[in-house]
């Protein structure tokens, strides 16, 4: 049985530098990532955390690679009880100039067999990355109900 892997590709009218900023700057992520701020110094090996609006940490892991504005990789897992059998999985963002656009490829892999977290991120990433694209192209985020962000059980 193949291990679960999530891959998402999109094209955004922006520059690699702006997309990099959007992926790493907490003021940016807060706007399209359902209020989530990323907390890390972006050095390989450093801790990586997703912080909710109320200051609590929802997800945690480590920075694996940081090569602006081309490649960003970190591991994380959600800290709620629901995912207690899960391990941090590796999310890798690859940014490639594509004419006047930027091609963004996200690969998320390394999930435990039968991972619940995999289901969670499979529902979350399309909403987050759709919102990111809209923000960079229109200056506004989408009004996606938070429920869309949650795993469909």
């Amino acid at each position: 049985m193949r291990k679960p892997e999530f891959v998402y590709v999109t094209y955004i009218e922006t520059t690699p530098e702006k997309l990099w900023e959007a992926l790493t700057d907490p003021d940016f992520t807060e706007r399209y990532w359902f209020g989530m701020r990323l907390r890390t110094d972006w050095k390989a090996g450093s801790t990586f955390e997703m912080v909710r609006g109320d200051g609590s940490v929802s997800d945690a892991g480590k920075v694996v690679e940081c090569d602006p504005p081309r490649r960003l990789a970190y591991t994380f897992v959600n800290l709620s009880d629901k995912y207690k059998d899960d391990v941090p999985a590796l999310a890798t963002f690859t940014i490639e100039p594509f004419g006047r656009l930027v091609k963004l490829t996200l690969t998320h892999e390394g999930f435990a067999q039968g991972s619940k977290f995999f289901k969670g991120i499979s529902g979350g990433w399309p909403a987050i990355l759709s919102n990111l694209k809209s923000l960079l192209e229109t200056g506004r985020t989408l009004d996606i109900p938070y429920a869309a962000f949650k795993a469909e059980d």
């Binding site: 094209y11 955004i12 004419g99 759709s130 694209k133 229109t138 989408l142 009004d143 996606i144």
Partner: protein, 157 residues
């Protein structure tokens, strides 16, 4: 069933009716689907095709058309590289979610040989990204690469 399946989900700030129109109206598809115009009566059992400069690129049969919620058609590529892989199936599900629409594209019943799977895995993100931009900004994306990407893919086979 062991056949390959491809799934792509996005959220678009639009109405289900506009998104339906964008999927079924040739003047619309021409703007985001690399210049390809779609034509069909959009009734189950009727034919549809995508064509550019008079040459069909994709053709098949409408399996279900339930505007503005669900569109299903069979998919036969007319390109030499993946024509022999036979018929696959595409389903579009349009679900209003507050002020946005969740669009799910499921392309399944794909041949294990994988040529069509590889082509559509590269194609759908471009088509849907451009569709989303067109509906949200009024402009499709300036993606000119598919023809050369396609040639590159063809050259590999």
């Amino acid at each position: 069933m062991s056949k390959l399946e491809y799934v792509y989900v996005t959220y678009i700030e639009t109405s289900a009716e506009k998104l339906w129109q964008a999927l079924t109206d040739p003047d619309f598809t021409e703007r985001y689907w690399f210049g390809h115009r779609v034509s069909s009566e959009w009734k189950p059992g009727t034919r549809y095709s995508f064509a550019k400069q008079g040459a069909n690129s994709i053709e098949g049969e409408v399996i279900a058309a339930d505007p503005p919620k669900r569109l299903v058609y069979s998919w036969n590529s007319c390109s030499p590289s993946d024509r022999q892989e036979g018929t696959s199936k595409v389903t579009f599900d349009l679900e209003p979610r507050g002020k946005v629409v969740k669009l799910t594209v499921i392309h399944d019943e794909l041949n294990e040989a994988g040529v069509t799977f590889r082509n559509i895995s590269g194609g759908w993100p471009m088509v849907i990204a451009s569709l989303k931009s067109l509906l949200e900004t009024g402009r499709g994306l300036a993606i000119d690469v598919p023809s050369s990407a396609k040639e590159a893919a063809d050259a590999q086979t």
